[in-house]
């Protein structure tokens, strides 16, 4: 099996934790790479290449039973470590341990799912350091680099947007989806539903500003 060379030793937030369902999958595009984030019944989040080694079917279309991810095409069963434990077409076959999904280091922290594509990740994801309440994850129709520039951000995510009158303090993370980006927004501190609803509206105003609407980015979060 040709192994994946992996990626840089860097943690990227690719989803709000709440958006990866229990006993379910979520397809995520990170730059040009298709990933699948999934949880077993144990609730642990895993992030793999979105590809079954059998015939290349995207595992994000698969289904989760207990702590096993099953490929939709032929039902091949993958346990949390990435190893294939069972091939339904040959129920008596002991599956060679070389048949495995490509697994990446994944951490759930501060309400976000972080992934590191390096074969030997050395660091840990940056911490927000405070209680954070998830608001929304939205797609922005602009390249990630442009968004980073517009938000005057270089270096590590998540970045914080300071509170202002009528505006909550937010933490924002972002990942590149190959020509576009997903913005992941959380509120700092505890927040009730009304506050989260206001924050969601603010994030949508930010989306409009980033996409060239009549409000400027500075007007929204400056």
């Amino acid at each position: 099996m040709i192994a994946d060379a992996g990626g840089p030793d860097r943690w990227v937030a690719i989803a709000l934790a709440q958006d990866v369902p229990m006993a379910g999958t979520r397809a995520i595009l990170l730059s040009e790479r298709e990933l699948v984030a999934w949880r077993g019944a144990d609730g642990m989040v895993r992030v793999w290449n979105d590809r079954c080694p059998h015939r290349g079917m995207r595992l994000s279309f698969g289904f989760v039973r207990e702590n096993v991810l099953n490929c939709l095409y032929h039902g091949w069963q993958y346990v949390g470590s990435g190893v294939c434990q069972m091939i339904p077409a040959h129920p008596d076959l002991t599956v060679p341990p070389t048949i495995r999904a490509t697994v990446f280091a994944a951490v759930e922290q501060d309400g976000l799912v972080w992934v590191n594509l390096s074969r030997n990740p050395t660091s840990a994801p940056p911490a927000i350091g405070r209680v954070a309440t998830p608001v929304a994850s939205i797609a922005i129709d602009r390249p990630a680099a442009t968004i980073a520039a517009d938000l005057a951000l270089f270096g590590a995510w998540p970045v914080s947007v300071a509170a202002a009158p009528g505006r909550p303090e937010l933490a924002l993370a972002m990942h590149d989806t190959g020509g576009r980006a997903m913005l992941h927004a959380l509120m700092l501190g505890d927040a009730d539903a009304a506050a989260r609803a206001r924050a969601a509206r603010l994030v949508r105003r930010l989306r409009a500003a980033l996409e060239g609407g009549d409000e400027s980015v500075a007007a929204v979060v400056g």
């Binding site: 958006d19 397809a27 939709l72 929304a136 797609a139 539903a193 609803a197 969601a200």
Partner: protein, 208 residues
């Protein structure tokens, strides 16, 4: 007897098949040779529906076209508890807004799908853009609903609005629109597939 003029690959027919199943309504199905036969454009079918479109529902002589109208009728006539189409003004109005959206803006996904799959004439890129714009509007709404602790488009239970929206959300993959950009939609459609009485269709994987 309820008789549904149906095409297996039609997302619009699927809206009706879903509600018939949720309501547990016995019915007959007449398969129309939509493709390649274009039976829906021939004289016999046009006599039933001059718009030449599917689905058509014949309810003991009451012949109805338009998936959204059919959903309203089925909920009105066969759901005495009023779960699928509540009559309180706020719920009713909200459902009507989203029902019309499902038969309106979201149908760009249907157009893109027909162009891509069956070589219908049309501007594929434009329909995809419009479809994505519609999905964004729905995702924003479902995000707000989730923040309010609500699982469905309106109220505390699924309604005919959810039924009308589901097919072209689920079939967006058929024209290359995935759900990576729509996390609230991804969670909602998963929830919808777990409803008792849910039936699948080709292009909507049976497993989740």
């Amino acid at each position: 007897m309820l008789r549904l003029h149906d095409y297996v690959l039609s997302g619009s027919c699927y809206k009706v098949r879903l509600l018939l199943s949720f309501l547990g309504l016995a019915h007959e199905t007449e398969s129309i040779d939509f493709h390649p036969g274009r039976q829906h454009r021939k004289a016999a079918f046009l006599a039933l529906n001059p718009l030449g479109q599917l689905p058509v529902l014949d309810d003991n002589g009451l012949v109805l076209r338009d998936a959204q109208a059919i959903l309203c009728h089925l909920a009105n006539a066969y759901d005495p508890a009023g779960h699928w189409l509540p009559r309180d003004p706020q719920s009713f109005a909200t459902i009507m807004v989203w029902l019309n959206f499902a038969g309106g803006e979201l149908m760009a996904v249907s157009a893109a799908r027909m162009i891509s799959m069956l070589n219908y004439p049309g501007d594929f890129e434009l329909q995809v853009l419009k479809g994505r714009a519609a999905l964004r509007v729905l995702d924003d709404h479902l995000t707000d609903r989730a923040i309010a602790g609500k699982l469905w488009v309106s109220g505390d239970r699924p309604s005919i609005a959810d039924v009308a929206l589901f097919p072209y959300v689920a079939l967006s993959h058929d024209c290359g629109i995935g759900h990576e950009d729509y996390p609230a939609i991804a969670l909602w459609q998963r929830r919808f597939r777990q409803l008792e009485g849910f039936v699948s269709m080709p292009g909507v994987p049976d497993y989740f």
